[in-house]
Amino acid sequence: MNKKVMQGNEACAHGALAAGVRFFGGYPITPSTEVAEVMAKELPKVGGKFIQMEDEIASMAAVIGASLTGKKVLTATSGPGFSLKQENLGYACLTEVPCVVVNVQRGGPSTGLPTSPAQSDVMQAKWGTHGDHPIIVISPSTVKECYTLTVRAVNLAEKYMTPVVFLMDEVIGHLREPIDFDEVKDLEVVDRKKPDVSPEEYVSYAAGEDGIPVLAPFGTGYRYHVTGLTHDEQGFSTMAPPVVARMNQRLMDKIDNNLDDIITFESENLEDADVVLVAYGSSARSAKEAMRWLNAADQNVGLFRPITIWPFPEKEIRKIAGNVKAIVVPEMNMGQLKLEIERAAAGLTKVIGVNKVDGEPITPEEIINAVKGVL
């Protein structure tokens, strides 16, 4: 046993370091700043680079630039900063440059409640930038997961050559819990592929059978072009409709064809549940607490916790919807993932939101009351 009490934000930073992140570009913002602060302190020790850029737009740009040199990269922000990163986040999606963007959600909209928790950037994490684009969004519920899932986020980014949004919330970000470092010391670490052909044969955006391109680090002898314009396999801009269609489709497919690998979730008591709670992030903790009490009172209540928020575990929800009286969705927002759950449920069951936007976390009691209303 090698337990250390650590904050969620700190754990995220240490997870990133363990995953091999060696470049951090960011801009401070509550409640995510501790991620940057740990990186500023730790990166030089391992020969990595930390830079506080002039704003979030520049931070996002800097990590993309750094990633193109072959480094694993991270940036961290919260609501307003996440809004500012959107344009360049879209650039990373299209140019297929791996990077992890941490968003520790706080109360919104606008400057809102900078020190209060919320989960109101869930839809923004998928739809925040213009144009159709793929995205992977992962949401931790414990401090330990802040560590382990950051490793996973970095792995997914490198494997699928894509930005991954690590969607935390203020409760988890500032919570301190023990992590047993013996348990997390052997996590798998994935590195992006290197070209296995000579520079002459290399075609940057050709993408093999898996649909994932191999981008050689700048400076290693493979000269190619990267652009945010819609481009062809050679990486050069094109307006030819068939090429455009093909490239856009591949971009989506590289995620959509690998849902089984990308989507993870936790579930409990689904078998003969009358009501299933669907919750993520810190709200899933409230939901678990509620379930503990409800089960103790012999109520058949189950829990489904999406860990991968996007792509959304649609299939699993559909299945649950067919078997229950109601799905109850506690979220610290006005009902966002609930919309997607409703869509997936396709009228098979009621979907009931437990929503709260007053800057306070949802309590187990509030969930219990909602469940009692339908049982």
Binding site: V5, P114, V171, L175, R176, E177, R285, P361, P364
Partner: protein
């Protein structure tokens, strides 16, 4: 048996209560418990009332916030006034009488009044150590964690060079707590 401590440390920004909470949680972990520590901020995490919460339990801790504390430390008048109402029926409440002058708003049956900040100044010459004195008092009174664990935890989290001073503070707090406990028990 399901054992759970809901401890709230309250005062003003700059008193080091969050560090206190972290140390307490760490000590609990050393003792083999589960523990989580959280805090709430004002608009800027500085000034005004500050609070740190620690939950210690022998079971997994899901919901990490405290509604009603069963142990409350109050290290400013404002914090006392604000938080002394959100406690359980049989809560223990520990008050720094150096800073809290009007006492009585709470309905706690177990109320411990200690001049924590004064004690800190007296014992270590630095008010800054009041948070450690307070930790000592909490442990002395509640025994929520072992003396060993709290000592280790304090030593892990304080700046190098201040070990002696902080041990003094901790011991002073524990002693004050234990003494008061005995007085009340007797």
């Amino acid at each position: 048996m399901f054992e759970k401590w809901d401890i709230r440390l309250s005062g003003t920004g700059g008193q080091g209560l969050i560090l206190g909470g972290i140390i307490l949680a760490s000590a609990a972990v050393k003792d083999g418990f589960n523990a989580v520590q959280s805090q709430s901020y004002g608009p800027e995490a500085r000034g005004g009332a500050s609070k740190a919460e620690v939950i210690i339990s022998n079971q997994e801790i899901f919901y990490p916030k405290i509604a009603n504390a069963n142990t409350l430390l109050a290290m400013s008048q404002q914090a006392y006034d604000k938080y002394c109402v959100d406690i359980t029926e049989d809560a223990t409440i520990i008050i720094d009488s150096t800073l809290v002058k009007n006492i009585g708003a709470d309905k706690a049956k177990k109320r411990f009044i200690i001049p924590i900040t004064e004690l800190a100044k007296k014992e270590t010459g630095r008010e800054m150590t009041a948070n450690i004195v307070a930790l000592g008092a909490i442990v002395g009174i509640t025994k929520v964690v072992s003396e060993e664990a709290i000592k280790e935890a304090v030593l892990e989290r304080i700046p190098a060079g201040t070990e002696e001073m902080n041990m003094k503070a901790l011991n002073a707090g524990m002693k004050a707590g234990q003494e008061l406990l005995q007085t009340m028990a007797s």
